[in-house]
Homo-oligomer: 218 residues x 2
Amino acid sequence: MSRRERPAKPALTRERIIAAAVAIMRAEGLQRVTMRRLAAELDTGPASLYVYVANTAELHAAVLDELLGEVELDGASGDWSDQLVGVLTSYVEVLTANPQLARTAVATRPSGPNYLRLVDRILGLLADGGVARTRAAWGVDLLLLAATAHSAEHAGADATADQQWDTLGRTLSTVDPRRHPHIHDLSDLLLAGSHTDRLTWSFRALIEGLSRTAVPGE
Amino acid sequence: MSRRERPAKPALTRERIIAAAVAIMRAEGLQRVTMRRLAAELDTGPASLYVYVANTAELHAAVLDELLGEVELDGASGDWSDQLVGVLTSYVEVLTANPQLARTAVATRPSGPNYLRLVDRILGLLADGGVARTRAAWGVDLLLLAATAHSAEHAGADATADQQWDTLGRTLSTVDPRRHPHIHDLSDLLLAGSHTDRLTWSFRALIEGLSRTAVPGE
DNA sequence: ACCTGAACACCGTTCAAGT
DNA sequence: ACCTGAACACCGTTCAAGT
């Protein structure tokens, strides 16, 4: 009787754990993806999770890779550099949709399947553009680093982020011209422009720079 | 009598709180700089700190700005771009000495006095190099973003970081050539080179790119 | 205004014991 | 091998009450 009315809990698997983690992240944010919260969701105790997941950092890394599956690798048209900007922009969009995730992306060095897929695509586009192999190899790191950091900074139209931006804006525009002459001089430009424009510009500048800059011993 | 033998506790001030926080960070790492640990150090209860500090994030931001005072702004010789690389390298050195601090630097948007001093110096060097005002204004953000992210990634000769690097190395060199042809093709180059060489190359590429890339509406 | 004790609502991780 | 309960050693933040 109880066999039908309360069916056996499905077995714990790494897959099920990570799926539950992703669900919690989407519903409540990464800060709620804790061992204890997750265990409660899976109707077990936190200790049980340690059979499948080494620690919280590894769990978050797995969630991150899962999300990276959403990055659009072939969405943009145009030449190789337009397409590259498109891929990077998609990456940033995926990350900024989940502020805290972007922050763990900076701390963690991902190596999951979706991350590899992304790296391979970027390398392919750099090859299309005729970027020297050595420059491309180092450049992919720099591009992803910058994209990730951008996401982490703009992470969130959340309240704290906006507030910090405002604070910085006020600080910059009222800066002592004697102590900080250059900031004073450029105060109107420092925070100018939309997110999107600045992001695109950053990517263009990075691509330009990494194409032209020789790697030592090249 | 007891007035001399057990002197009154010095009054709580923001300055004293932050000094204690820096001391704990140097001795035990930022992860120990918690409200409770700090309160214990100052011989009071955690609630008392909230008179001077809004929350843990603000506390960590204050610690960060304090550390930025150690960045060497005039250490390097050479032309403006060599000096700029020098400033950025010094910034990275300060941050990587305290792994977790670099990670909070990505999350937080600093606006303390030492941060302003750093921004002003970088803007000055870009002006020396004749970089267009608009490009310099956006470029300083990009440079600091990349430098911070680099620090956060290489944050630590700590065990986890090294392990992640090794994992990534193994993953990259054994990648399926059919699924990830470009990674396979470049696997020997992707992780090649020393930290320092890669960091310097990144800064050179960034400087090159931001000097040459027009800001929209420029 | 500043400081405090106490409480609320949580954490990660380990480990001996069970199945 | 997998799962669990219970424990250890912590967290941030709030709030009523005191000085």
